[in-house]
């Protein structure tokens, strides 16, 4: 309708094209930036853990909590369509957990994470994991305010997942090849091939083989997390 006189009569004669640039994810991005700023100010490292369902995110967190908790306070924001099962597993492992049930939504967004952060004593937390909804598509498009993205690729999935889900794997700050204890019985997963597909996405990160069952690769991962936390604390100090 006409903004000037209220009439509904407009024509395509002499159409005027006006160039604009407005990101459609701007509202989520602003909320995410707010979350990140708050976490950085607290000196809390925040990691967004993403993978397809069943790749071993919760099992990995249980093992990481056991390795990190003696030195650091860990908390987890859990994202699942339904149930509080994963949050209970995290609490049993000795860390704080807040469960978000998304219903039918296939990813977490920054507003949900902001709400969850208000249920955690952030000033006492060193490392905050966000276990995103199991999905290799949508979670990659929504910034939550994390500092780093951890992406799991289970060797029970195809080694061409990085080529099939480029948005997700391009965003990874660390790619973890999980369940490698099963590699001896899997003849169709080639670790080298997965790494080549990842490199083709111009993502220079390495593929770290891990197993929550045997503990393989976890010391190396803990070392990386230590470094990232030190970087956040250093930035906080210099700020």
């Amino acid at each position: 309708m006409c903004e000037t006189c209220g009439c509904g009569v407009t024509t395509d004669k002499n159409p005027l094209a006006v160039e604009v640039l407005h990101n459609l994810t701007a509202a989520n991005d602003a909320e995410a930036a707010h979350n990140r700023e708050h976490l950085s100010r607290q000196g809390t490292l925040c990691l967004n853990l993403m993978s397809s369902p069943g790749a071993g995110k919760t099992a990995l967190l249980q093992q990481l909590i056991a390795r990190l908790q003696p030195q650091f306070k860990v908390a987890v924001i859990e994202g699942d369509l339904e149930t509080e099962n994963d949050a209970e597993r995290i609490r049993d492992a000795g860390a704080l957990a807040y469960q978000i049930n998304t219903g039918t939504a296939c990813h977490l967004d920054a507003k949900q994470v902001h709400h969850a952060m208000h249920h955690l004593p952030l000033d006492a937390i060193d490392i905050l994991f966000i276990e995103n909804v199991g999905n290799l598509v949508c979670p990659a498009s929504f910034d939550l305010g994390q500092h780093k993205n951890l992406v799991l690729l289970a060797c029970t999935e195809g080694d061409d997942k990085p080529a099939k889900y480029p948005v997700m794997f391009r965003a990874a700050d660390e790619v973890l090849i999980s369940k490698v204890d099963l590699l001896p019985v899997l003849d169709d997963f080639d670790l080298q091939r997965a790494c080549i597909y990842l490199k083709q996405l111009a993502n220079p990160v390495t593929c770290l083989p891990i197993s929550a069952k045997t503990g393989a690769g976890l010391d190396s991962l803990v070392e990386t997390l230590n470094q990232w936390l030190a970087d956040i604390r250093e930035s906080k100090a210099s700020a």
Binding site: M1, C2, E3, T4, C5, C7, V9, T10, T11, D12, K13, N14, P15, L16, A17, V18, E19, V20, L21, H22, N23, L24, T25, A26, A27, N28, T104, A105, C106, H107, D109, V137, C138, A140, S141, F142, P162, A163, K164, P166, V167, R170, Y197, K199, Q200, L201, A202, N203, P204
Partner: protein, 117 residues
């Protein structure tokens, strides 16, 4: 699924625009890149459902699908790239920077003239 929430972001973006005197908004252009994580066809289907009860119900949506461009950090050349192969076409380096292809933005507004005297 999230194409609906993107359309809601689109409505917010449209409401934030300053109206033009003697002109009415007839159409908009949204630019979507192959690496945006947005499926253009789903956005096209979601749009009329989201705007139907708003002041933008008559505003036409056109989608501009951008292509992927990278800048090589080694040989410094620009090249086009594929969604799952972002290496430099010239020197095959993996050290490239995405310069286009992940957009998800409102990029043009099209206004018509009022036909009344």
């Amino acid at each position: 699924m999230h194409e609906f929430s993107l359309c809601q972001g689109l409505i917010q973006a449209l409401r934030a625009q300053e109206p033009l005197a003697q002109r009415s908004l007839l159409g908009i252009e949204v630019t979507i890149g192959p690496l945006s994580g947005v499926e253009p066809e789903l956005l096209r289907h979601a749009y009329p459902l989201v705007v139907q009860n708003t002041e933008f119900a008559q505003v036409r949506l056109s989608l501009n699908q951008s292509s992927i461009q990278v800048q090589c950090l080694d040989c410094k050349q620009r090249s086009s790239a594929q969604v799952n192969d972002l290496r430099c076409r010239h020197c095959h380096s993996i050290h490239t920077m995405l310069t286009a292809g992940n957009e998800c933005a409102l990029t043009h507004l099209y206004y018509g003239e009022h036909d009344h005297v």
